[in-house]
């Protein structure tokens, strides 16, 4: 190789570098259309894909402008962390209020009273926690009490990082407290026995579902209701049964504008419209179709509504004193989860 050819090679490298920077710059500069970033939790991937398409269509019809919505998914706590670390989210749609509280406290980009800004505790839909078992329910799992029996393999994500898992944990707690007539020591005993049966503790709801459904680990998956239905759709309903426990928790996955970010980016109008859209009949119907319990059942297809069984539901605010109390008490460092989770070696 001659010197000239080497030089040319070097020139090519430099040209590639220059091109790369140009691409990067243009990527940032093509802001003709509005671009929103929705940072969400794990199981909502399919839901928001449908919602985003519907909203983009409506926004185009209404304003003539094009809106693109980018999605980021992960464990709810993990997602909140990335927003705190500076991810430029326009809206956050997380698994529980505690995670949005954390963003509000640590960044001041969201006002403290965010949950009052939209109807229904800022939750356009609710859900609950159910059990997914293998077809025919070979271990005979009927209710929470069966989960703590020896020989039952339980799969749940990690309450430390997953929002869904925190609902799982609190639902189990609520059941045990009721079953033991409020005896705290027995409740703790039950939770410890339940988590002694947990063989895999993934960081997000999706990881747990994959472990259970795809990898065939465990006998029962503690899952979001919507996720349990989705598993049936994705992996074949003939492989799984859904078991509805006698008592569960009303899970309210809330949404919020990230004020600090939308004001910096100038996207408040579109972002607000996006969140409002979630409460429209059109979106509510989509929500029910994806197995979330819509806030306005009348807007949904009655066929979709038929899937939701009536369950006795406790609530975070009434039974646990809200997330500001429940979060540190159960999931903070040294909280009940840390005290009771003693995995086998």
């Amino acid at each position: 190789m001659t010197r000239k050819r080497l030089r040319r090679l070097f020139d090519y490298a430099m040209a590639a570098l220059a091109l790369a920077f140009c691409l990067a710059v243009t990527a940032g500069a093509r802001a003709q259309t509005v671009e929103l970033l929705n940072v969400s939790y794990d199981p909502t991937r399919e839901l928001y894909r449908a919602i985003n398409a519907a909203f983009a269509q409506e926004w185009k019809a209404k304003t003539g402008k094009t809106v693109t919505i980018r999605q980021s998914h992960g464990g709810s706590g993990a997602q909140a962390r990335t927003v705190i670390d500076g991810l430029n989210a326009d809206v956050v749609t997380l698994a529980l209020g505690g995670d949005i509280d954390a963003i509000a406290q640590r960044t001041k980009k969201i006002p403290a009273d965010w949950q009052k800004r939209l109807p229904n505790n800022a939750s356009p839909y609710t859900s609950t926690i159910v059990f997914l078992v293998r077809k025919g329910n070979p271990k005979g799992i009927k209710d929470w009490g069966d989960l703590a029996k020896p020989g039952v393999g339980v799969v749940t994500p990690n309450p430390k990082t997953s929002g869904g898992a925190r609902w799982n944990y609190l639902a189990a707690w609520a059941w045990a407290k009721k079953a033991n007539n409020g005896d705290e020591a027995k409740t703790r005993e039950y939770i410890a026995a339940l988590f002694a049966n947990v063989s895999v503790l993934d960081t997000g709801a999706r990881g747990a579902t994959t472990t259970f459904a795809q990898r065939g680990i465990g006998d029962v998956l503690l899952a979001w209701e919507n996720e349990a239905y989705l598993v049936g759709e994705e992996f074949g309903a003939e492989k799984f049964d859904i078991v509805t426990p006698s008592l569960s928790i009303l899970a309210e996955p809330p949404v919020s504008l990230v004020d600090g970010n939308v004001d910096a980016k100038g996207t408040r109008e579109a972002a607000q419209a996006y969140l409002d859209f979630l409460y429209t009949p059109k979106a509510q119907a989509i929500i029910a179709k994806h197995h979330y319990r819509p806030m306005k059942p009348e807007a949904a297809d009655p066929k979709d509504m038929a899937q939701f069984k009536t369950i006795d539901l406790v609530t975070i605010d009434k039974d646990f004193g809200g997330w500001t109390k429940a979060q540190p008490e159960h999931f903070g460092d040294g909280g009940t989860f840390d005290q009771l989770y003693k995995p086998k070696r």
């Binding site: 190789m1 999605q71 670390d85």
Partner: protein, 297 residues
Amino acid sequence: MSEAALTPSPARPARRAGGARVRGESRLVQAILIAIALVFLLLVLGLPLASVFVEAFRKGWDVYLEGLSDPDALAAVRLTLLVAAIAVPVNVVFGLAAAWCIAKYEFRGKTLLTSLIDLPFSVSPVISGLVYVLLFGAQGWFGPWLKANGVEIIFALPGIVLATIFVTFPFVAREVLPLMQSHGTADEEAALTLGASGWRTFWTITLPNVKWGVLYGVLLCNARAMGEFGAVSVVSGRIRGLTTTMPLHVEILYNEYNTVAAFAVASLLALLALVTLVLKTLLEWRYADHLSANGKH
């Protein structure tokens, strides 16, 4: 143990294979040992590689192509290429500079410098991501300043590029260094004495001597840059179609039960790995002497 013996040379055909009977094992022992080695390689390397392609084509070509032509998958491919296109040249420049000063000069602290260049090799990729979050994250040391000036590093291209450069940091330097060392300084000194300028000497003497080593380093650096997962996942923010590189996109698809598409994108990366191997093997066969520091000098 001599240094030369420890300085590995590229894989060469076994010259003495099947040589003198007197020191060979019986055919049976040979066959057993070969069988054990092959089974082990099959279990650890062969089956996983095969499974990528089997899973990717499980539902046929159409579904496979559909998985790859998804706009988000294409965006991931573009981002991955872009990241490699920035990270690799940066590491080439750095690698040449580092090799030049370590190989051609004697100075105090050289061993320390060499160790520091080696450090990213054994640092966990997660840590390479973490350090940039601590530095440039909104809660980090420079976060507020960056925010005030509208500079995005974390959860954007610069962060991904930085993390990638970190994990591939020693690759080029480490390939070029032994070559430069083995060539000594006599050629360059002669050129300088004859009146050539420093740059000219570098372009005409030094670089041609190590060009195959550079190419080799680029190959490895590129493979790692395109395939890095841990470091990038910490700084990416996982915005579909925007900050997801191919390995991250594989994880996302995998978590969406879209196994076929996940393995389809994974198969592209596996293909990249295979191409890298082929090029590497070709380089080794053709230029074994140029690549090995103890080859001819």
